[in-house]
Subunit: 279 residues, 2 copies
């Protein structure tokens, strides 16, 4: 399985510490060695950094340098990939990015979706993952519903509705953002925490590395971190409930809902199914 | 002054060799040490790589690694920055990216534009450069003209018309692409060449590095390289004429036009002008 990581903060904040921990799982302390990616929106949402590599993050000088010089952002999303049924290729590495509603949207997924996802004409996958197809399908739904991305309530409702529908096809732990809001949803595994004053020390689970956040923050900073598995050993990580979706803004949860998670039906296949993966 | 670099090819091609040469000018063989950026569109236009850093490219491990692992792309655009009047900051590093017409557009500029550029509501700059403002203005013009980005002739005409208008404000050497087409325009300095069979050796001007392209290409490959100053010492670089615009696709020039370059008027300033730079 793949692993997800995200940051949402009320002040531009780098994700270097967390990304360093996640990277170790990309081939060293974890088996997610088939690619990695990191997307960061600088404040304003226009200064996107987006880098992906079809190589193990744990041994990538590029990933190491990006951890060292991680851009300060209000929203960052990272992913390390373990391909089980899809090919190892750059176009299959997450996060994926697309334009919709005049904004850049970024998406990363951990899970496995069964069956062919129906697509319209506006958004088509370039790679061969069920994840990118699901992302294209979500953007089609937002478009068809006429959602205003400036309206966080409407956006959350539609994204949560999409998540519930995709959850019927399998495991759908996912992150999506336009740099303003961070939407996160889980059917099986995702954790989160909020760092705020009084800030403490935190120690990575995958590397002998500790940071004293009180030395690098101000009293008003609020920073949410989301990760498939807890990244630190001395902080209180909260698990997502199965079917739960959260919308983050400024490091805080501003919308929250939960759908029922049904057992995944085994689809009847009359023709060869498209290549799937367990991202 | 800043320097520009671009690649357009008919087969996915990495820009590592040329980017290595350009990077040296970012603080070692050249004075453009205030930031760098590289954007690459993977085939299909959706797998964007976009990385910028407010540091000298010549001494950046991140730039070095990106040269080493430069993604194979149909279009890549890079920039090294020398800020003379703007601040050194990530949001002022080129290439800039924006969504328009459901596609991601990338822009880089070398020059200096006088006076306030009028903007609409859809595209606003985040940083403080005249370059990003010009990019936003161009996208507004494309939108207002109702240009179909799938129509290269109409796109070229509108972009060339925009270039002519911006050239009235000063120096406008620029690159813009959506991953399908590469538009390049110059008022003062830009060079280009096409590499095709029979491929030869090429030697960088800024680094003792030579590549034998016949060993890394096929007979059908066509690759255009654009650069502010010639990057190699043993190839035939063609200068852009003042006011000339070219549209590249598949490594070939498919549209070409030239406008008159008028002297730049000195604007009357009744209030403090916004920060400018010579990118």
């Amino acid at each position: 399985m793949c692993e997800l990581l995200a940051l949402n903060a009320n002040t531009p904040t780098d994700m270097g510490f967390s990304f360093r921990g996640l990277s170790r799982r990309g081939g060293a302390t974890g088996e997610h060695a088939d690619g990695w990616g990191l997307a960061s929106f600088t404040p304003g949402g226009h200064g996107l950094t987006l880098l992906r590599e079809e190589a193990p993050a744990a041994f990538s000088v590029l990933a190491d340098q990006l951890a060292e010089r991680s851009p300060k952002a209000l929203v960052s999303i990272a992913h390390i990939r373990k391909a089980t049924r899809g090919v190892v290729a750059l176009e299959n590495c997450h996060p994926f990015s697309r334009c919709w509603g005049g904004q850049t949207w970024v998406f990363a997924h951990n899970g496995d979706l069964q069956g062919a996802i129906p697509l319209g004409d506006h958004h088509r996958p370039f790679g061969s993952t069920d994840s990118e197809t699901a992302f294209c399908w979500i953007l089609e739904q937002l478009e068809q519903a006429g959602v205003n991305p400036q309206n966080p309530g409407a956006l959350f409702d539609q994204l949560h509705h999409c998540a519930a529908q995709l959850a019927e096809r399998g495991t759908f732990n996912a992150l999506i953002s336009n740099g303003q809001w961070l939407f996160a949803t889980a059917t099986s595994k995702l954790h989160w925490l909020t760092r705020r004053a009084p800030f403490c020390k935190a120690t990575l689970a995958d590397l002998p590395l500790q940071v004293d956040f009180s030395a690098v923050t101000t009293a008003n900073d609020v920073v949410a971190i989301l990760s498939t598995e807890p990244l630190t050993t001395d902080e209180h990580w909260q698990p997502f409930q199965a079917g739960e979706s959260l919308l983050f803004c400024g490091g805080q949860v501003i919308h929250r809902s939960r759908h029922g998670v049904r057992p995944v039906p085994i689809p009847a296949r009359s023709q060869p199914a498209p290549a799937h993966e367990v991202p």
